[in-house]
Symmetry: C2
Subunit: 145 residues, 2 copies
């Protein structure tokens, strides 16, 4: 019987990174909460906004985003991962389409995600996004009243 | 005779972070080279551009930026530092004014800088910038020919 191959650290981190984007697509604050480390120093920079610090504030920001979004699709490309002990980071591009009551928008986003390993689990501690040049949000439509 | 207090890891990392912005202001590629780890996986996202990977490519990008810039001023604010073993990251805002032959521009930039400790020195391995919302580059002037 073949012995299942153990995941490498890099594979574990990439899985944690995918779990973050699945949580994003789920629009479920609890699924997002499962991905993050819940400490007062974690930081999050949503696209085109200012940095948020502390798990409570970060959680509130996700809840607000999810409440105002009806559907969200995120496709990951060019993931690069580095692991250094119990810290790791992923650099990746995401193509994100967000749908709202009033329409939708699409953006290509450059992401830096930093993870720390606690109790054998990789937890997100820093999320930094930039909208890529020449690929500004597009596709917004307004429903005619 | 008082014993000099040793720097904490956090202080060392903040010093390495300041050294990066001093290198930026110096417009000297060699001073910038002294700040980075020279490996093929280091990554750099200049404001409004796409990610560059590998020290040779990153060095070339700095050389090109410095060649086309006549003066650069960067002021750091809101530095937040985390150290985890031999890895650390700094989140900070910089107010950057770049002068060129043709004019100048000013931007407020959100930065994520990741460092690793090698041989007792903290070296920059990832630099991610985003231009802050509502503070797009401004002040560009064109010299009338």
């Amino acid at each position: 019987m073949p012995v299942p191959r153990l995941e490498t650290d890099e594979e574990e981190v990439l899985r944690a990174n995918r779990a973050f984007y699945l949580a994003l697509q789920s629009l479920d604050p609890n699924q997002m909460a499962a991905v993050w480390l819940h400490e007062d120093w974690v930081t999050c920079l949503h696209p085109g906004r200012e940095l948020i610090r502390g798990w409570e504030e970060v959680f509130e920001s996700w809840t607000n985003i999810f409440n105002s979004t009806t559907r969200l699709q995120a496709t990951i490309s060019r993931p690069m991962v580095r692991v250094a002990g119990d810290t790791a980071w992923v650099s990746c591009i995401t193509s994100v389409t967000s749908s709202y009551e009033e329409g939708f928008e699409t953006a290509a986003i450059e992401n830096t995600n930093i993870f720390v390993r606690r109790g054998g689990q990789w937890r997100l501690v820093h999320h930094h996004t930039s909208i890529l040049p020449g690929r500004e949000p597009s596709g917004t439509t307004k429903v005619v009243q």
